[in-house]
């Protein structure tokens, strides 16, 4: 081996130790003593902390750039490292000259590239700023394909849920595709949730145009939705359904919970599963048709399951290796 050989063994052990800590952070609840041990390890040798940081970054990046086989992507682009309010921060720092940089740079959501595929892991929402300055908040276990060009601001919600705060631009419409629907906005705020064949568009501010596309991509039907309006589409019925709602209910996912009003249990379960590390499985398809109204806290899915058992003729089996299985009682 080359001249790096003498330290190789040590480096290997260092990485091994860093990796073990990382897994423990991810899987276990560490005690104070264990955290103290970790802090000692990190600070005994700066190389230890560095090794931990490197593996931590890789660990995160692995979720952000999943393998491309399942999702064909046209491009391999490095993510721009520019942080949006950098200029503002520099101004602030200039005032407080002599002090270290404040954390406000890290406080900003990250910049998303014009051709990026955003994929979020289970139980983790993510915020970002699109190339035009619009803001996006992506729910857990969701997939958003960003496709911006000089003439078009286009995104596709392939799965899951996202909230958009669109920057006004007269000449470049902001288009979100989700299954058979296409939502067109100029400057507004709206949420799109895609659960299998069901797509629900909720407008918080301003208005959007929702178009339904046929197989050939032509608009078959279109409707305008204003603040407080919700348009939902189920490929089975083939119709756009219109309702007035409280957008805060739909947007509760941004605050750690999902709220449902008369939604069928299969849709509820699919959305809960974006936040539950153990999948919830409906063993009887009939159960999927039950209508659920209530709140599910991401941090306490168990309480929701307890509630289900009381309200519905359902048994919850928590010890199945496949996940949490719901059967008909």
């Amino acid at each position: 081996m080359n001249n790096a050989a003498p330290v190789a063994g040590k480096d290997g052990q260092r990485f091994e130790a860093a990796g073990s800590w990382l897994i423990r952070f991810h899987e276990d609840t560490l005690t104070d003593a264990e955290i103290g041990e970790w802090v000692e390890w990190c600070e005994n040798d700066p190389k230890n902390l560095q090794a931990f940081e490197e593996l931590q970054s890789l660990w995160r990046s692995a979720a952000e750039h999943p393998p491309q086989t399942s999702v064909p992507s046209k491009r391999a682009r490095a993510r721009p490292r520019l942080w949006w309010p950098l200029a503002a921060c520099i101004a602030v720092i200039a005032v407080g000259a002599g002090f270290l940089m404040t954390s406000r740079i890290a406080l900003s959501p990250r910049q998303i590239g014009a051709g990026e595929l955003v994929r979020t892991p289970v139980a983790t929402n993510e915020e970002g700023i699109l190339p035009d300055g619009s803001r996006i908040e992506v729910g857990a276990r969701s997939l958003v394909d960003v496709n911006f060009s000089g003439i078009r601001r286009e995104l596709e919600l392939r799965d899951g849920e996202a909230f958009f705060q669109v920057k006004h631009e007269r000449t470049r419409p902001f288009v979100v595709k989700a299954g058979a629907l296409e939502v067109v906005a100029v400057g507004t705020a709206f949420n799109v949730r895609r659960t299998g064949a069901q797509v629900v568009v909720t407008v918080q501010e301003g208005s959007v145009e929702v178009r339904r596309r046929d197989g050939g991509g032509f608009a078959e039907e279109s409707a305008r939705a204003h603040a407080g309006q919700q348009l939902s589409f189920q490929s089975g019925s083939g119709e756009l359904h219109d309702a007035m709602v409280d957008p805060a209910v739909t947007l509760a996912w941004r605050s750690g919970r999902l709220e449902f009003t008369g939604d069928s249990l299969d849709v509820v379960v699919a959305n809960v599963n974006r936040y539950s590390r153990r999948p919830v499985i409906l063993a009887d398809t009939q159960l999927g048709a039950l209508k659920f109204t209530g709140t599910v806290f991401f941090a306490n899915v168990d309480a929701w399951l307890d509630g289900l058992e009381q309200v519905f003729p359902i048994d919850v089996h928590r010890n199945d290796p496949q996940g949490i299985v719901l059967t008909k009682r």
Binding site: M1, A8, G9, G12, Q13, E16, G19, S20, L22, I23, F25, H26, E27, D32, I35, G36, V39, C42, E43, L49, E53, L55, Q56, S57, L58, W59, R60, S61, A62, A63, E64, H65, P66, P67, Q68, R75, A76, R77, A78, R79, A94, V95, G96, G98, M101, T102, S103, I105, A106, L107, P109, P121, E127, R254, S255, G256, R277, R278, F298, P321
Partner: protein
Amino acid sequence: MGSSKHNPTPETVGTRGPGEGNELGARARAVSELFREHNRTLVRFLQAKLQNEHEASEIAQEAYVRLLELGRTGAVSFLRAYLFRIAMNLAVDRIRTRNTRQRLDAAKLNPPPELDVVASIERQVFAADEMKVFWASLAELPQEHRQAFEMSRLEGVPTLEIAQRLGKSDRMIRRYIVRALVYCRYRVGGLSASEAQERMDDE
């Protein structure tokens, strides 16, 4: 502007009697020192817990404010343990509520100047093509390594459950995941497959 320096003395922790003020100033300095020393570890710790840089920095700031408010001085080792304890509790709270937008806490509205020690710590971001190398090199490892890593990282399956599914022990699964990560780190870092393998064998 620019000429008025921040003044990190007692008024940042409240106006008190002169003697008490000195003591508070001393504590503020001790806490500030503590932060400067452990800031990086603390932020990494919070990032590991929260999986979110933004929240990690926020919570680090909040932990700092809480520590300043704590009405006791003590040995440095005591303060350090306390710092991580507070940070952990805040992180757990945050995970429970996850309500970033509405939590404009005092620290953010009116940050004391010592907060400047909670410096910005960006995480290294791997580019998409580096991650292509990552996934390609993961495929060079034995099947179980790849399976365990993908189930854990992509599907969020707990290691205990992966162990059940693959018929291995939890300890083994964790080892596979760690080895996969370290091997891919070497490969992304530019080592050939055999060099990376050799370093793993050195362990």
